[in-house]
């Protein structure tokens, strides 16, 4: 069975500080990977997607970047946090192919002060 792990569970960071969030998928080779952001009490917005190692596409510009250094790993980062970055970050995976359903990780809660 596939498992998806996100780290850290939660972060409290200062404005202007750097950030790195991670996501790992086990039990599935060559998955499509996605990052989503969810404002508190809000809907989900897709940020990035990746269909293969080293290839990441940006969907929304939020002063964030993403990388896929390994087949099973997806990293979200920024060098300088803004207050507006606060929220819930979710990683998801799907199998390759059209319209495949996405499966979500447990998420990381980020508070920027």
């Amino acid at each position: 069975a596939q498992t998806i792990h996100q780290w850290p569970v939660a972060e409290i960071k200062a404005v202007g500080s750097p950030l790195s969030l991670g996501c790992t998928i086990k039990g599935k080779s060559s998955p499509n990977l996605y990052w989503y952001w969810q404002a508190t009490g809000g809907t989900l917005q897709q940020l990035f997607y990746s269909i293969t190692v080293g290839q990441v596409e940006s969907v929304v510009q939020l002063n964030l970047s993403a990388s896929r250094p390994k087949d099973d790993q997806f990293i979200l980062s920024t060098e300088k946090l803004l207050l507006s970055h606060s929220g819930f970050y979710l990683c998801a995976w799907s199998r390759q192919g059209r319209y495949a359903e996405q499966f979500f990780g447990p998420g990381t809660r980020l508070t920027v002060l």
Binding site: G42, A100, F104
Partner: protein
């Protein structure tokens, strides 16, 4: 462009009652539709999906949804809710073959009174 509207921000029902959560989508082609549930401080779990075929699809935990193309709707139903169904429910649509771009509605907060 695709979009999803969930017109009910909050729904409150009593345990044992039937439930319908509304979802309307906007997309000119054939949509692929999903319902997800989010429990407090957790990620999203897939309840059910519709790709084609029988417009009534069955999901987990007794949930079902009906795709009505003429009405651009994909409402979620359950015959008898349990207090543990209290959560936020999201309807989502994808129509992109390349990006897997899921467009979510704003969610409906369901509260079930025991």
């Amino acid at each position: 462009a695709q979009s999803v509207t969930q017109p009910d921000a909050r729904v409150t029902v009593s345990e044992g009652a039937s439930l319908q959560l509304r979802c309307k989508y906007s997309y000119s082609g054939t949509p692929y539709l999903f319902w997800y549930v989010q429990y407090p401080r957790q990620g999203l779990q897939l309840l059910l999906k519709y790709y084609s075929g029988d417009p009534v699809v069955q999901g987990v935990n007794g949930f079902e949804a009906e795709f009505i193309k003429s009405n651009s709707s994909f409402h979620l139903r359950k015959a008898s809710v349990h207090w543990s169904d209290s959560a936020v429910y999201f309807c989502a649509v994808t129509a992109s073959a390349n990006t897997g771009k899921l467009t979510f509605g704003h969610g409906t907060i369901l509260r079930v009174h025991p």
